[in-house]
């Protein structure tokens, strides 16, 4: 709760510290000081900052975020319109991360220094080093334009079409994130492979495959889930960039558009929603971690 309160305060103040006048955006060419004053009055921007903030808080507490300056629609409606695409994008990214990093991480750990280990290291280091929007453009060039396998940006209509349109943006997000996950999964797998209970299991004559599935994976996933949770802030930031490159109608592109047009109510609401999302996922990560790691039980010190 205090986190969320802090986020609202910071985003509110930052917005107003940045120069730029919503009235100028609304009037464009037709700016006259008189017309601008009228608009500021009607938007309540002539009120003292404190009372503006108080009004926003009161509204947010009752689930109403006011009306967008730019779209002349309730902000709540815009959020509802946009949340689906972002959630789907994050979900697909998580799925890609799992599909990429679990097999590769374990393989790299089991065959240390092998071809796969080296190749993943080089590939993912590159993926991590390049900025998200550049990775996005490269993916578009290769898979969208040259091979024609995936649509270039947009969102399509219907669930399957949405998924198809999100393949490239999700890959763009998953590649750098998988870097971190593969490395941490490799490290935790190696630790576990060298631990006593694995040695004992081997002495018992349990097959290598069984050991990996039963003991290693279960114990290695915990730390990886934590790493994923920690990297979530990065993922949210990445989503904002990637949604703009690929024109995905999600919260990220809504946010960027709203910042540049100084659409205060929209920026504040999206910032709050993203913050809530991060907090909830972090909580969820802790719970999952607890469930996956048998050494963590409530009330017992490690």
């Amino acid at each position: 709760m205090p986190v969320l309160f802090g986020i609202t305060l910071v985003s509110f103040l930052l917005l107003r510290l940045v120069p730029g006048d919503p009235a100028q955006q609304i009037l464009g060419n037709r700016y006259t000081p008189e017309a601008a004053a009228g608009i500021r009055r009607s938007l309540g921007l002539d009120q003292p900052l404190l009372s503006q903030y108080w009004l926003f808080l009161k509204g947010a507490a009752s689930g109403s975020f006011g009306e967008s300056y730019q779209y002349h629609r309730p902000v709540g409606e815009l959020l509802l319109d946009r949340t689906g695409a972002s959630l789907l994008l994050v979900g697909l990214t998580a799925a890609f991360c799992a599909a990429l990093s679990i097999p590769l991480g374990i393989w790299a750990a089991v065959r240390r220094g092998g071809v796969v280990d080296q190749a993943t290291r080089i590939f993912f280091t590159l993926g991590f080093a390049l900025p998200a929007f550049l990775v996005g453009i490269l993916l578009i060039l290769v898979f969208g334009l040259k091979l024609g396998w995936a649509p270039i940006g947009g969102y399509g209509t219907g669930f399957l079409s949405h998924l198809g349109h999100l393949v490239l943006p999700a890959l763009t997000l998953a590649i750098p994130l998988s870097t971190v996950l593969v490395r941490s999964l490799r490290a935790s797998t190696i630790t576990i492979l060298e631990s006593d209970f694995v040695t004992i299991a081997r002495l018992k004559g349990i097959s290598e495959g069984q050991i990996l599935l039963r003991h290693v994976l279960r114990n290695a996933i915990g730390p990886v889930a934590v790493v994923f949770g920690i990297n979530l802030a990065f993922l949210v930031g990445g989503t904002v960039v990637v949604e703009n490159v690929f024109s995905v109608p999600g919260l990220g592109s809504l946010l960027v558009g709203a910042v540049s047009t100084r659409d205060y109510p929209v920026v504040q609401a999206v910032a709050l929603v993203l913050a809530v999302f991060v907090v909830v996922v972090n909580l969820f990560t802790d719970v999952v971690h607890g469930l996956l790691d048998p050494r963590l039980t409530v009330g017992v010190q490690r």
């Binding site: 120069p19 006048d21 060419n29 037709r30 000081p33 453009i137 024109s247």
Partner: protein
């Protein structure tokens, strides 16, 4: 589209890194274009010519609202033109008023009464008849509505009466030459009064009027789908559907066009036009516009209050070179502050020539033989404006003036420019109506509310000319008045008009007949254009 909330301290570094990345991306796009990307049809196949009935257009900017009295983004305004008919409209050349819902109108001897006669049997898209009462209500809403930015245009209108279902009478307090041009503007669209009043969300769902298309799906900032309105009074469009998507990233838009996912894109980046031309399946479309780029010289920044200093700055600029660098030669050098595609543009005005000796002479006379230092505020994301700023810096250095270019994101840049005390500023203007009254009021009338394009220059004689030209209905006299106004701005230089920039589009060769009028709308071309299989 980039948004920046970072401090100005990191500005220069950020801009430079963006430029490098921008260069990389351009290279990537270039490579793919040179590779003749998107060759999905085999070379030996005969050119397909069967028509498809859908046009897919990718815009760079979101549609903010479809309520015509509130629209501010050009992309929304152009959308309005497809949806809502007005009493009269501008023809495709952008220079003449032609019938729309009203097929004839009478103007009284004293020019104070206009009587409009609606066509027989015109209907809104939902099939209900368009009445004079709808027109009265819509025009009053645009004039008096709290949300309307456009009431000021028709202040001389004293009374609007629907004498019967098909006759509308408009009475004026004094002659008002721009009236027809004002009524042809999107804000004065005729809307279905009952439907709009019955649903406060009318414009957020699937708004319609009596134009050639209606909205069938609307998600702001993402996509708008238009469908042919079969009740339209005029020629039926060949297209059944127009899908407009919003793709803010320049590179993504171009890639979508190369991949054949869209048919037309708005605003391809200026530096990739040559590569687009090199691709046999694509075409660059440049259209005459009413855009005028200018640099404002606000009198509140010393020594710009000295007219000789302003004249010196103008004389030092090489506008031809600026054009080559900023627009790859695709723009025209501005001769006056009026758009050249507009009524009463002064055709006798000549291109200003660079005269460094004369410029130095003027500076010396003004008391600045060694020049001075002055900031220039530019918009970081505007490539053309950045190039223009660099040429200004380079040219003014030749007469001893040191220019400090300060780039900001759009909103911030305009904030810095507004008080007029922070130095020169890069700006541009585009018209909403074909009549010059609007640009004259905003640019040359110091009392006109916009402080003469924010320059804080005021000349009572010129303000009087602007007011006189508004009420003068004799075209020859009016042209003479506007010529005087254009000359006054050229002599006194509250700002320097730099270029007449074209509207830039790129399209697939499979699109036949996409055209944009000087006011930016393409509704006329949507009536006739065809899209072939590709």
């Amino acid at each position: 589209m980039k948004s920046s909330t970072s401090s100005s301290m990191r500005r220069t570094r950020r801009v430079r890194s963006t430029a490098t990345l921008g260069g990389l991306l351009t290279l990537a796009v270039t490579l793919s274009a040179c590779g003749g990307g998107a060759e999905q049809t085999s070379d030996d196949a005969p050119a397909a010519s069967s028509a498809v009935d859908t046009l897919k257009l990718a815009n760079a900017v979101a549609v903010d609202t479809l309520d015509p009295i509130q629209a501010s983004a050009n992309e929304s305004i152009w959308m309005d033109q497809n949806l809502y008919a007005r009493l009269v409209q501008t023809d495709p050349s952008g220079k003449e008023i032609v019938p729309d819902l009203a097929d004839k109108w009478d103007i009284s001897e004293d020019k104070l009464t206009y009587t409009f006669h609606l066509r027989d049997g015109v209907k809104f898209a939902d099939g209900t008849p368009v009445t004079a009462q709808d027109a009265k209500w819509s025009i009053e809403r645009a004039r008096d509505g709290e949300d309307s930015a456009w009431g000021f245009l028709i202040t001389p209108v004293t009374d609007i009466t629907a004498t019967d279902d098909r006759t509308l009478t408009i009475t004026l307090s004094k002659p008002h030459a721009p009236l027809l041009a004002d009524l042809a503007m999107y804000a004065y669209a005729v809307l279905p009064q009952k439907a709009v009043e019955a649903d406060k969300d009318f414009f957020n769902k699937t708004p319609y009027g009596a134009g050639p298309f209606k909205v069938t799906s609307l998600s702001p900032q993402s996509s708008v789908v238009l469908t042919r309105n079969d009740n339209y009074w005029g020629p039926k469009p060949k297209l059944k559907t127009v899908e407009i998507s919003i793709v803010t990233d320049d590179n993504t838009r171009l890639l979508q066009l190369q991949g054949g996912e869209v048919d037309v894109i708005e605003n391809p980046a200026g530096n990739v036009l040559k590569q687009i031309e090199a691709n046999p399946r694509l075409r660059v479309d440049l259209f005459d516009s009413t855009r005028v780029d200018f640099v404002s010289l606000p009198l509140k920044t010393k020594p710009l209050d000295n007219v000789k200093v302003r004249q010196a700055i103008k004389a030092a600029l090489d506008l031809g070179r600026m054009n080559t660098l900023a627009y790859q030669g695709n723009a025209k050098v501005a001769t006056t502050f009026f758009p050249y595609q507009m009524l009463f543009w002064d055709q006798s005005a000549v291109e200003p020539k660079q005269d460094l000796a004369g410029a130095k002479q003027l500076l010396a006379e003004a008391g600045y033989p060694d020049g001075f230092t002055i900031p220039l505020i530019a918009v970081s994301a505007d490539a053309a404006g950045q190039a223009q700023a660099v040429v200004i810096k380079d040219d003014l250095a030749k007469i001893g003036i040191t220019v400090d270019i300060q780039s900001f994101e759009l909103s911030t840049a305009y904030d810095k420019q507004r008080p007029g005390t922070n130095g020169m500023g890069m700006r541009y203007w585009t018209n909403d109506i074909i009549d010059p009254d609007e640009v004259a009021t905003f640019g040359a009338d110091g009392d006109g509310g916009a402080n003469a394009f924010n320059s804080y220059w005021k000349d009572e004689a010129v303000s009087a000319l602007v007011n006189e030209a508004r009420s003068e209905t004799d075209e020859t006299k009016r042209a003479a008045l506007y010529a005087q106004i254009q000359t006054a701005i050229a002599d006194q230089v509250p700002f320097v008009p730099l270029a007449y920039a074209p509207f830039r589009y790129a399209s697939g060769t499979w699109v036949k007949g996409f055209k944009v009028s000087p006011l930016g709308n393409y509704n006329d071309s949507l009536l006739t254009l065809t899209v072939e299989e590709h």
